[in-house]
C-alpha cells in the first residue's frame, strides 16, 4: 500500500472531491498560489483555478459567513480557518447560521459546508495558536465534528464531510501533517459516528482521537510490558460519536480511560465519561478516568509546553490506576 503524509491525504481528498463535483470550492487564507499555511492545499489553485480556490483576505467571519451563503446557493464550500483558535472570529456563522439553518427553516434547505480547523500544540506557538476547541462544536446541535488520526481516515472522513448535506467541523492536528501512513489505492469514504479499534485488548478501554492516538498506542505498548492489555479506540468522529462501540468495549474490559490533548475540564472526554457512567454503569469495575491537558492556557516555552501536553506517561499512570 502507498504511504502518504496526513497533510497530503487531506490535499488528495480535496482534489478528488473537486474533481468529482464542480460545486466543491475552497475558501481560506493563503490557500491559493501559496498552497496554504501548512501546504495542505498545494497545487489545487494551479489545477482548479482562482474561481474554485478562493484566497480570502484576513476576514474569518466573512470566510465562514460567505461559505454559508454559497452553501445555501448550491455550492459545497470547504473553508479553512488557519488555526482553530481563530474560529473565535467565525462563531456566529458556524453556530448561529450554519448549524441551525436546516432546522430553523423546517428542513427546506441544508448547509453543505466543511470548516477545516487545525488544532493542537507542540509547536511552541503559544496560547492563541494551540487550542483544541472541539468540545464547543460538539455541543452545538446541527454540527458534525470529526477529528482523524491517520492519513486514510483523514481522507475518508473529509470525503464524507464534503458529501454531507450538513455543516461539518473537520479538525486536523497540526502535529500530524508530516506523519506518514497507509493510503489504500482506492481509499474509501468513512461514515461519521464509527470508531475504529486501533488496538484490541482485554483489560482496559482507552478512548481517544486525533494525534493523541499515537501516545495512546505508546502507552498501551508500555502497559503490555506490565501485563496490562489495553484496547485503544480511535473515535474519529466526535459528533456523533460511536457510543455503541465504546460501550461494547467497556462491556469486555470493564475499565475506561479517556485521553485527549484538549483541556480535560469540560472537554470531549467529559461527555464520553458521563454517558458511560449512565448507560455503561453496570459494566464499570473502576472509576472512569480522564487524561487531558491541565486547566491552563498553552504555555510558550518548550519546557512548559512539554510539561503541559498530555503524554503517554500520564496516560499509563491512569491506566495503572484503574487496574488497581
Amino acid at each position: 500500500m502507498e504511504q502518504m503524509r496526513f497533510g497530503q491525504a487531506i490535499g488528495k481528498a480535496l482534489a478528488d472531491a473537486m474533481q468529482a463535483d464542480p460545486t466543491v470550492i475552497l475558501f481560506g487564507e493563503d490557500i491559493g498560489e501559496a498552497g496554504g499555511p501548512f501546504g495542505v492545499t498545494r497545487g489545487l489553485y494551479q489545477t482548479f483555478g482562482a474561481a474554485r480556490v478562493l484566497d480570502f483576505p484576513i476576514s474569518e467571519a466573512a470566510i465562514v459567513g460567505t461559505a454559508v451563503g454559497a452553501a445555501l446557493s448550491g455550492y459545497r464550500p470547504v473553508a479553512e480557518i488557519m488555526f482553530m483558535d481563530f474560529c473565535t472570529l467565525a462563531m456566529d456563522a458556524i453556530v448561529n447560521q450554519a448549524a441551525k439553518a436546516h432546522f430553523m427553516f423546517g428542513g427546506q434547505t441544508s448547509v453543505p459546508l466543511v470548516v477545516r480547523a487545525p488544532h493542537g500544540g507542540g509547536l511552541n506557538a503559544g496560547a492563541q495558536h494551540s487550542q483544541c476547541l472541539e468540545a464547543w462544536f460538539a455541543h452545538v446541535p446541527g454540527l458534525h465534528v470529526v477529528c482523524p488520526a491517520t492519513p486514510a481516515d483523514a481522507y475518508g472522513l473529509l470525503r464524507t464531510a464534503i458529501d454531507s448535506p450538513n455543516p461539518v467541523l473537520y479538525i486536523e492536528n497540526k502535529a500530524l501533517y508530516a506523519r506518514k501512513g497507509d493510503m489504500p489505492e482506492m481509499p474509501a469514504a468513512i461514515p461519521f459516528g464509527q470508531a475504529r479499534i486501533a488496538r484490541a485488548g482485554r483489560d482496559v478501554t482507552v478512548v481517544t482521537y486525533g494525534a493523541a492516538l499515537y501516545q495512546a498506542e505508546a502507552a498501551a505498548q508500555q502497559a503490555a510490558t506490565l501485563g496490562i492489555d489495553v484496547e485503544v479506540i480511535d473515535l474519529r468522529s466526535l459528533q456523533p460519536w460511536d457510543e455503541a462501540s465504546v460501550l461494547a468495549s467497556l462491556s469486555r474490559t470493564h475499565r475506561l480511560v479517556i485521553f485527549h490533548e484538549a483541556v480535560e475540564a469540560f472537554g470531549v472526554g467529559a461527555e464520553i465519561a458521563a454517558r458511560m457512567a449512565d448507560v455503561g454503569f453496570d459494566e464499570l469495575d473502576a472509576p472512569i478516568v480522564r487524561v487531558g491537558a491541565p486547566f491552563m492556557p498553552t504555555p510558550y516555552s518548550p519546557d512548559l509546553e512539554h510539561a503541559y501536553l498530555p503524554n503517554a506517561a500520564r496516560l499509563l499512570a491512569a491506566i495503572e490506576r484503574v487496574m488497581l
Binding site: I25, A51, L54, F56, P57, S59, A61, A62, V64, G65, T66, A67, V68, G69, A70, A71, L72, S73, G74, Y75, P77, D92, A93, N96, Q97, K100, A101, H102, F103, M104, F105, G106, G107, Q108, T109, S110, P141, G142, H144, P165, N166
Partner: protein, 329 residues
C-alpha cells in the same frame, strides 16, 4: 412580484401601472403586518416580532427588479422583504402562528422565516447576520454565471457591525453582484443611530469604489427608479452597489414596545411620512378611482383572513419529527 421585468418605465401610463403594482404590494405587506400586530396582541403569534410598517417601499421597489433565482438575505424586520420576494402567504402566516403548515413547520418563526425556492435565504436574528450570507450567495451567482444577483437587506444599526466592512471589501474586491440595501429608519432598538454610528455610508462605499445611491423611502417610485438603475447595471457589470433608503419605523422596535424613548413630536410627524399614504395620494392624483383602491384593500383582507383561518385550522407541529430533523439526510 418577483417575476416582473426590470427597470422603471418611461411612459406615464406605465409609471402608473408600476405605481399601482407597488401600492398593491406595499398594502399587502402593511395589511399582513397589521394583522400580525393584532394576532400578537391576542397571543396568537408568540415570541418577538419586528414590524416593518413604514418601510414597505424598500423591498417592494427592489423586488420589482428581481427574479425568483435572485436571492435575498433578510433581517429581523424582514416580513416585507420576504413577502415582496414572493414567499407563500399561507406558509408565512402559519409560520408566525407556529403551525405545522408554516413554511418552516413552526420551527423558525418571524426571525427565521425562509423560502428557499423563491430565493429567500432567511430572515436573521443576528444583526448583520445576513450580510455574509448574501455576499456568499452573490459569490455563488458569480460562479454559476446565470446573471442572478443577491440582495443584502440591513438596518442602519447593522452598519456598526464589523462584518459589514468585511463583506463590502470582499464584494468590491471580487466584483460580486450584491446589492447592499440599507433600510435606514434612524433607530437601532431604543437608540438613535446617529448616536451610535458616525461613518458616512456614501463615503464608506466610495472607499471601496462601490457605487452608492440614496433613495427616499417615502416615495416608492423613487426607490423603484434608483434600485432599477443599480440592478440593471449590476446584471451587466457584476459589481456590488449600496442603496440607502430613508424610511420611518412606525411601530416599536418589537411589538409591545411603546416607544416612550421617542419624542412625541417625532411620533406625531410620522403620519406625513407614510409611503403607503404617499403612493395612494399619487395614484388618486393620477386619476385612479379611490373605489378601486378600496376594493383592492378588501381583496387583500380576504386573502389574509383566508391565510389566518387556514393557519388556525392547521395542526400544531409535531415534536418528534422536529427532533428527528436537526440534520439533513
Amino acid at each position: 412580484m418577483s417575476k416582473k421585468s426590470p427597470a422603471a418605465a418611461a411612459g406615464s401610463a406605465k409609471t402608473d401601472d408600476t405605481l399601482l403594482a407597488c401600492y398593491r404590494a406595499m398594502l399587502r405587506i402593511r395589511k399582513v403586518e397589521q394583522r400580525l400586530s393584532k394576532l400578537f396582541a391576542d397571543k396568537e403569534v408568540p415570541g418577538f416580532i419586528h414590524l416593518s410598517i413604514g418601510q414597505e417601499s424598500v423591498p417592494v421597489a427592489i423586488s420589482r427588479h428581481l427574479r425568483d433565482s435572485d436571492t435575498i438575505a433578510a433581517t429581523h424586520r424582514g416580513h416585507g422583504q420576504a413577502l415582496a420576494k414572493g414567499i407563500d402567504l399561507h406558509g408565512f402566516v402559519a409560520e408566525m402562528m407556529g403551525r405545522e403548515s408554516g413554511i418552516c413547520r413552526g420551527r423558525g418563526g418571524s426571525m427565521h422565516i425562509a423560502e428557499a425556492k423563491v430565493g429567500m435565504l432567511g430572515a436573521n436574528g443576528i444583526v448583520g447576520g445576513g450580510m455574509s450570507i448574501a455576499t456568499g450567495s452573490a459569490l455563488a451567482h458569480k460562479l454559476s454565471g446565470k446573471g442572478d444577483i443577491a440582495v443584502c437587506y440591513f438596518g442602519d444599526g447593522a452598519l456598526a457591525e464589523g462584518i459589514f466592512h468585511e463583506c463590502l471589501n470582499l464584494a468590491a474586491l471580487w466584483s460580486l453582484p450584491v446589492l447592499f440595501a440599507c433600510e435606514n429608519n434612524g433607530w437601532g432598538e431604543f437608540s438613535r443611530t446617529d448616536r451610535q454610528f458616525c461613518g458616512k455610508l456614501a463615503q464608506l462605499a466610495g472607499a471601496f469604489d462601490v457605487t452608492y445611491r440614496f433613495a427616499n423611502g417615502l416615495d416608492v417610485a423613487d426607490v423603484t427608479q434608483v434600485a432599477g438603475e443599480l440592478i440593471d447595471v449590476m446584471r451587466v457589470d457584476r459589481r456590488p452597489a449600496v442603496l440607502e433608503c430613508k424610511v420611518e419605523r412606525f411601530h416599536g422596535h418589537f411589538e409591545g414596545d411603546p416607544q416612550k424613548y421617542r419624542d412625541p413630536a417625532e411620533l406625531a410627524a410620522l403620519a406625513d411620512k407614510d409611503p403607503l399614504a404617499h403612493a395612494r395620494l399619487a395614484l388618486e392624483r393620477a386619476g385612479v378611482d379611490p373605489a378601486s383602491l378600496d376594493a383592492l384593500d378588501a381583496e387583500l383582507t380576504r386573502e389574509i383572513e383566508a391565510a389566518v383561518d387556514a393557519a388556525r385550522a392547521a395542526p400544531q407541529p409535531d415534536f418528534a419529527s422536529a427532533r428527528a430533523d436537526v440534520y439533513a439526510h
